[in-house]
Every structure is written in C-alpha cells, then in structure tokens.
Symmetry: C2
Subunit: 339 residues, 2 copies
DNA sequence: CTAAATTGCTTAACCGATTAATAAAGATTA
DNA sequence: TAATCTTTATTAATCGGTTAAGCAATTTAG
C-alpha cells in the first residue's frame, strides 16, 4: 500500500480510505486509486495487517470435538456445517476449521485470528475449555458451555416421541436399542446394569431416558442386555451391532436406533437377513439426515433440523446475541419403517 | 507480549524466542517464561501479528468452484475434503474455506492470509484466475490450471472401462446415459446433435467420450436423445432424469450414469418402477462414494480414490512440489448392478 | 464580507509480533 | 593473562495496514 500510495502521489491513509471509507475522499480520487492500484497489481488490503490493527479478521472459527475430517464424513455434522457455511457466506465471513489436539501455544495462535467460534460437541462436548480464555463470543451446538450461547434440541423429548409412536403398536413386546456412545468404550457391546447407573448428561443418555420413559408409559420393558453401545456413528460399526441385535433371540419387534446412520445400517442388515421391516421389526432413527427419506423402506425418524441448527448458531454468533440458549423443536417424521 | 516481557523483566525478543527458538535462550529462562506468561494469561503469539511479520500464516485455503456448502453436501467433494483435512491436521495447518463471489478487494483480502491454495473445480474449473496474482503455490484438483500442480484422473479411460464392461453383455442393444453438466443449462434435458458438436474439455465430456469409444468398440450406438443432461449432482435432480430415462421407450438395457449419486437415484427409481437391476437394466456409476457399496443392489462403478486425491493434493502443496501434474489410477469396481 | 462549518487529504501513532545485528558475560584456548 | 569463542539476552527495524487528530481549502450561513 505504501508503494501504491507513493506511485499515485497520495498518502497511505487515502488509499486505505479508498478501500474502507468511501466517504472520506472524493469519488473521483477514489475511483482513480481503485483503478490505478489494480493496474499496479494491488487489489486490496492484507488481511493479517488489517486484523492486527483492527482487532478483527472477518474469520469465524469452527471447532469440533471430533477430528476435522469428521465434519466431512458424518452426515449430521455435514448438514450442520452446511447451515453454518451458508450464513457465513451470506455475511461475507471466512470459515476457519480448527482442529483440536495441538499444543497450548499452537491452539492459542490458531484461536487468536477468528472473531468468534462455533463449537460442535456432537456426543461429547469437552476439550473446549481453552476457547474461553480468548474472551471472544462463542456459540455451542448440542451441549452446554459456560455462559456461552447454545443451540440445542430436547433430546429426551424427541426420543420419547418416536419411542412412544413405536411402542403404541400391537407387537411391542420385544424392544431393543442401538445406542450411540452410551458409555466410554471404543468397542461395541451390550450395556450392563452398572453402566446405566453411571449418571451422564450426554445427549445419547438423554435419548435413552426418553426411550425409557416411553417404555414405561406403554408398560413394556427394555432389557439392559438389549441395549447396544456403538462407539462411533459409522455405517460399518452400526452394521456389526445391528447384526448382533437382529440375530439375538428373541428377535426384537421394535428396534430403536439413536441415529439415522445406525437405523439405515439396521435396515440393510434386516434386508440381508430377510427380516421384514416394518412387518417383523419396526425400526426408528434419529436426526432425519437426507438419506433417511431415500432408504427402502423410507425411515421413520426424529427431525432435528440440522441445517437450521447450523444457520441459527452462525446467526446468533454474528448478531452478537451469543448468550442466548435456544432449544429447537424436534419433529416426528413418520415414514415406512414404523408407521 | 510486551506486557508479559515487562512483567517478567525480559525483552520481547526473549519471550518470542521462548515460543519459537528454544536454542536462543537458556532452558531455565525459557521454562520460567512459558510458565509465568501462562499464569499472566498469555499462551502464545498472535497469529495476525506473526503472519504479518513472517509472511506466512500456517493456513491453507481451499476454494471450490461451487458454493462452500457444496463441500459439505456433495459426497464426492466430501471425501476429497476429508483427505485434504487429514493431511492438513497431520501437518498442523489450519484450513480456511474460501467462498467465491466476493468483490475483488474482498477476494484479495481473503486470499492474502493463506500460504497456499487447493482449488477444486468439480465439473467447471473456472473463476480461479484471481488466485494467480497472489503468486502463492496452488494445487488444483480435477482440472488443469496455468502452471500449477494438479491431481487428476483419466476420466475418459475410467468411463471407457466401465462402459466396456457393461457393453460386453448380451443385451447391450439399448444404451442410455445420465450425464452430469454436459452442457451449460440449469435444466434437465436430453442432448441434441449440436450440443455434442460443441467442443469441451469438461470432465463430464471426457467421460462421455469414454462411453462413446466403448460403444464403438462394441458396435452399439448411443442415440443422442438417450443422453440426459443433469445440471447438478443432487439426488433430487437425478431422480427426475432417471424417471424420464426409465420410462422412455424403448426401455434402456444399459444405463451409464456419470456419478454415483445419479446411479443411486436410478436404482431407487428402477425399484419404484419395478424394473429389475441388473435383470432388465444394467446400471453403472462413477466415483465410488461410500454409499455405492451399501445400496441394494450394490453399485458397479469406477473408483476414483477421492480421499487419496485430497491427501495427495494437500501433500503436494505442503511439500512444495506444486508444479507436478499427477494422474491417479481409476479402478473398475464390479458389484451387483452390472456384473 | 466574515465567521463557522464542511470537505478532502495528510501526519503519525499503533496493532503484536519476528529477527538481524549487537553487546555483555562466561567459558575456552593459547 | 590475554585473546577468542559461546552462550544468552537486548535493541531496534520491520511486516502492511487503520484511524484519531490536524490542517488547508472550499462552501455555507448570517
């Protein structure tokens, strides 16, 4: 900018104003500066310098509890990111994807650039403490965090609603649950009584509580050994667990899955084992990812408006009301796997 | 940093060295600085200031020809981004997602931060010219760009291979193509003779050329009015086109789809119309996205190693050999929709 | 016609680091 | 013991902008 200013015979302040504050100079001079500086190969201010001086960068940091690549592989995270990205683009903000697992100094550097953060905890909202010390606005999604704003859903109620729907049927005698991250183990397993007694506020536990409440209301029981724990939301893991559940005896008549990825895996396994859905087993999901409407048969599930969640989180952050705690509505989506 | 230095009774240079060049001060002093500065609430250098001075930021920019949210919604882009993200995290780089469609000055600012760029053209590699003027290293994926490095596949050969495989069957008389972005139109339509004569180096055209070559080799023809143009790679659009193709007369016996998203849509439509796959129609895809192996029946397709593509692009960029032009191998993946 | 307000541009301090050059102190060598 | 080398820490310039304050020149108001 200094060179450009010298070439054009004006001060750097004027060049700066040409780009940032059009009212500070004559329209004529402004146009000359914009035109001639472009000719000289200067197209606009440097971001590092600008944000150093201004104290803001126009960059929003998004950080996931899981690895960055998770944001591209999990359909739920995906939709959330889509919503976030849409709003940021509309507001001409850049999106910086932050990874965890760096040293304190690296973290600190990375976190020094963004003007604010969106944190996504998925099923384990922790590892974000250091974000606090930046003092910048933060909006979290799917968990609660200090006095930051948050976007959440009522997991217990959503789970209750779909379980209630499933358990009102005639043949509700054998209920099984394919749960996601219910306990702290990286292996697929069935729960034991003591697992259940460990208190937890994880969203998967809330969903389980919703299932339980619906079961109680319908006077059926969910045996502990019919509750599976799946460590991550991947189709492969889910298929393994689904195969266990659908080959266990007695055969479940209702299979409550804590995510659509799991439910879709269950549908594939049922198909493979020639188990009719919903004829022999009713299957429910959670999330309402795009694929849920395209499966055969289409999946009955709970819509948690992930796109909207992302949009809302980004909007809250940008509009500065990042103290609000919002609970989005879930919607029961009845398709074919459980009518 | 200035405050911290003053508090600890050392110079700012020493504090800086404590974080960046441990060999420049005694281990004892370094530890004291790291410890006490953290106590004072200072955890490491500010990124804007650092990159202003150093001329590098540790941030890599990724830019898509399509909108940013496309990178989260399209399965192919998704896998590519996953590969990129993995390598960047391994190398402790941050990932900045850049959107196009900004003013020149905004572009320029946004582009001033990253140390290098990965450009993904998908099916339309343009709108990236301004990146050149940064003079920073660039690696592009799925198209060619100035004298930058690139990661590509042989689309023509990949398409030839799968078409060849499909057309060697007995009933190869009626071939139809569900093409992606074959012409410049946002509507689904069949091609006309003049569309074909318009020269183009878009990857979809290369795939079409591969189909054509295979058809010729097998002495069958692909009628122009059996080639559909689909403007974007979305399940919804694809289903519409697939429905047209699968209700057209005569019914195609081979349906060559230019993406897995399209092929999977075709499978759904075929199922809905009670058309047996591969019994009545053989269906082929392209890409080998994760869903391709999970459909019923599993999709026969061309694997283009998207994850590897992303990893390679990122690696090339970081290792500085960003002039190389790499063509990755495609692999024929024969599953059930076309054996 | 003069005082006040406005317009248009410049000066200079500052944002928070990095690093070459330099100096002081301590260790080693002749 | 003096000369030289190392180690350790400091000084000060610099990265590329932004913006409050200031100063002419011009316009408006009285």
């Amino acid at each position: 900018m200094k060179q450009v200013a010298a070439q054009l015979g004006v001060s750097t302040a004027t060049v700066s104003n040409a780009y940032n504050r059009p009212d500070q100079l004559s329209e004529k001079l402004r146009e000359r500066i914009l035109r001639e500086s472009a000719e000289l190969g200067y197209y606009g201010p440097n971001l590092a310098a600008r944000s150093l001086r201004r104290g803001e960068s126009g960059v929003i940091g998004v950080m996931l509890a899981d690895s960055i690549s998770y944001s591209f592989s999990d359909p739920v995270a995906n939709q959330l990111m889509q919503g976030i990205a849409e709003v940021l683009v509309e507001n001409k903000k850049q999106l910086l994807l932050l990874s965890s697992g760096m040293t304190s100094a690296e973290q600190s550097s990375a976190e020094s650039l963004p003007d604010g953060f969106i944190l996504y905890g998925a099923l384990q909202g922790n590892g974000f403490e250091h974000i606090k010390r930046t003092g910048k606005p933060v909006v979290v999604v799917d968990f609660e965090f200090a006095d930051s704003g948050s976007v959440n859903i009522d997991n217990e109620q959503g789970a209750y609603n779909i379980a209630e729907h499933a358990l009102q049927k005639e043949d509700n005698s054998q209920v099984a649950v394919l749960g996601l991250r219910l306990i702290d183990s990286s292996r697929i397993c069935r729960l034991s009584q003591e697992d259940l007694s460990m208190p937890s506020q994880e969203i998967s536990r809330l969903r389980l509580a919703g299932y339980m409440r619906a079961a109680e209301a319908n006077k059926v029981s969910i045996p502990v050994d019919k509750i599976w724990h799946i460590p991550i939301n991947s189709p492969e893991k889910a298929e393994v667990a689904a195969r266990e559940a659908l080959t266990s005896s007695p055969l479940p008549t209702v299979l409550l899955c804590m995510s659509d990825v799991i439910a879709l895996a269950a549908l594939r396994v049922a198909n493979e084992l020639n188990i009719a859905v919903p004829g022999q087993v009713q299957v429910t999901g959670f999330d309402d990812i795009p694929e849920a409407s395209r499966s055969t048969p289409p999946l009955s599930t709970v819509c948690q408006q992930n796109l909207e969640k992302g949009r809302l989180a980004a909007t809250m952050l940008l509009e500065g009301n990042s103290k609000e705690k919002v609970i989005l509505e879930t919607r029961l989506v009845v398709r074919q796997t459980c009518k």
